[in-house]
């Protein structure tokens, strides 16, 4: 029964992807990657939501609550929630910049605004490097789901099939496939999580039978660095989520900037599924179950509380979560390589080059996912340390000042090196997130460079 429901979900997603091609076959590279900027409010809403809540969120949130208690929940929910106000102000302005320069990727903004090939390459390397673990994370999550359901399918075969499906979606209709499929995925995920949460609540007679373990004093090990680390990470990641290469690429699919802005108001409502995930984590601790690893907490709760058909639904929803995210990352990464790293090719060559890049990326991710271990949160932290370093360069371009690329390049390098260095040496000055220290240094270098330039020949234009 589980497998039948799972297969039905996957087949439905394939039909939706075919339908998305039938409605609008991608004509050129711009249409393939950003739908020629034609998406309305509904598709943008589901695409953005679909790309925010990955399989890592679904498995990682209960895992973190289970192992690290409320401090983890405060950080995890805080940064996602605060990315919406940041996006409310930033997204429409990035869209305007994208329209001005006919952008497809985040690196297009840097190339066109700062007129620097070196900066463009640096941005591509910076984003591509940090996108690599993102794909592996999806496959690692998928393997957790399959293992807990007890399906006797080799992990590599499962992830290989999923990678093939993702590639098929992308080849069918580019960005439209994950956008249309994300509607199914988002509805399924909410249904599965609400079902699981409700069943967990029922099973532990919550709130009448308040679990002893949930008290603050028994909430597990605290996060390193305490409150300073939590707050700095929330600020860092709430900005990072808005300047991530795939997020920026999705902005260019929108028809108007006010659509983007209005959507940001409603997006936090989707987070109302998290109380149900929280209940699932509480249930696993209350029941005394011993998951094989923290990442198994969600699936342990699902398997203990839901009937077989619902488990199939959850597995389908989780698989689509992984694949939609993967497709989005692939569609951000492909043009970064074929358009920004190897410029000067025809529209058709760019599209083919991106598709080859995507295929290679998927193979690398499948191989990496098979050997991935430990909490997904570690990879997540590394991802934000790098991606968020794009923020100062983007903000300066939004201020629309004519500045040299040199301070932006210097800031990006300093931010990356500082953040990564502190992370790998486990150094947290004042308990702050290493990425935040990197971002502050990055911003200071950029500010210093611009201040120096403004004394000579700065010519500010109208801010966006």
């Amino acid at each position: 029964m589980e497998i039948s429901v799972f297969m039905a979900v996957i087949m439905t997603s394939v039909l939706i992807a075919v339908y998305s091609r039938y409605r609008h076959a991608a004509r050129n590279a711009r249409d393939f990657f950003v739908a020629s900027g034609q998406f309305g409010a509904i598709l943008i809403f589901f695409l953005t939501i679909g790309e925010t809540y990955s399989i890592g969120s679904v498995l990682g949130f209960p895992a973190g609550i289970y192992t690290q208690g409320s401090g983890f929940g405060f950080w995890f929910l805080g940064y996602i929630l605060l990315s919406y106000p940041v996006g409310y102000f930033l997204n429409p302005r990035i869209w305007i910049l994208g329209q001005r320069y006919a952008c497809i990727t985040v690196a297009d903004i840097f190339r066109n605004h700062y007129a620097s090939r070196a900066l463009e390459i640096l941005v591509v390397l910076n984003t591509a490097l940090f996108l690599l673990p993102f794909g592996e994370m999806q496959f690692a999550g998928l393997m957790v789901v399959v293992r807990n359901l007890g399906w006797h399918i080799p992990g590599m075969m499962m992830t290989g099939l999923c990678a093939s499906l993702t590639l098929a979606w992308i080849l069918l209709s580019g960005i439209r496939a994950p956008a249309y499929v994300s509607i199914l995925k988002d509805v399924l995920m909410v249904a599965a999580i609400v079902l699981g949460g409700y069943a967990a609540m029922h099973a532990m007679h919550w709130p009448a039978g308040m679990p002893e373990f949930a008290s603050a004093s028994n909430a597990g090990p605290v996060l390193p660095g305490g409150n300073a680390f939590i707050v700095s990470t929330i600020i860092l990641q709430s900005i990072g989520l808005c300047v991530a290469p795939q997020t920026v690429a999705f902005l260019f699919t929108a028809k108007s900037p006010r659509t983007l802005q209005k959507n940001q108001i409603f997006m936090p409502f989707y987070m109302l599924m998290f109380p149900f995930l929280f209940l699932m984590a509480l249930y696993v601790r209350a029941s005394g179950a011993t998951p094989a690893s923290p990442n198994d907490v969600f699936m342990v709760a699902v398997c203990a509380t839901l009937p077989h058909w619902a488990r199939g639904l959850v597995a389908g929803g989780c698989a689509l979560s992984a694949l939609v995210i993967l497709a989005g990352v692939c569609l951000a990464l492909g043009p970064l390589v074929s358009r920004n790293l190897m410029p000067g090719h025809s529209d058709r060559a760019q599209k083919i080059g991106a598709q080859i890049t995507i295929a290679i990326y998927l193979v690398v991710s499948v191989l990496g996912g098979a050997s991935l271990s430990g909490l997904m949160v570690i990879l997540n932290n590394l991802y934000y340390i790098g991606i968020t370093q794009l923020a100062p360069g983007i903000i300066v371009s939004l201020l629309n000042r004519r500045v040299s690329a040199i301070p932006i390049i210097a800031g990006l390098l300093c931010g990356d090196l500082t953040g990564m260095g502190l992370f790998f040496f486990h150094v947290m000055p004042a308990g702050l997130n290493p990425g935040m220290i990197g971002l502050i240094i990055n911003a200071l270098v950029v500010w210093g460079g611009i201040s120096h330039a403004s004394r000579t020949s700065s010519a500010p234009l109208t801010p966006l």
Binding site: G71, P85, A216, A219, R258, P463
Partner: protein, 88 residues
């Protein structure tokens, strides 16, 4: 299902940044989430088995959209007033 939906209310320019909009739309959500969360975290209390700061963050799922909605209305009314201003 089409790429575009029926709504056409958003084909407008993005309002310029203003201090009230930034305070309500950006400052207030950060204060609510981080300030409120830290204050309640220090209390080390639970409600129905859930730490208070987590309950507060759940409440912020409603409060943050409320802040953004007020910010949206502020921008819209400011532009409406600007449009009505007679040309001298």
């Amino acid at each position: 299902m089409h790429d575009q939906d029926g709504r056409n209310d958003t084909m407008q320019a993005v309002p310029a940044l203003s201090l009230p909009a930034l305070v309500v739309g950006l400052g207030l959500p950060y204060c609510l989430v981080i300030g409120g969360g830290l204050a309640l975290r220090a209390q080390e209390m639970t409600l129905f088995g859930a730490p208070l700061e987590i309950i507060w963050i759940f409440a912020c799922f409603i409060l943050v959209p409320a802040c953004l909605y007020i910010c949206w209305r502020l921008s819209s009314s400011a532009r409406f007033n600007a449009d009505r201003k007679p040309v001298e």
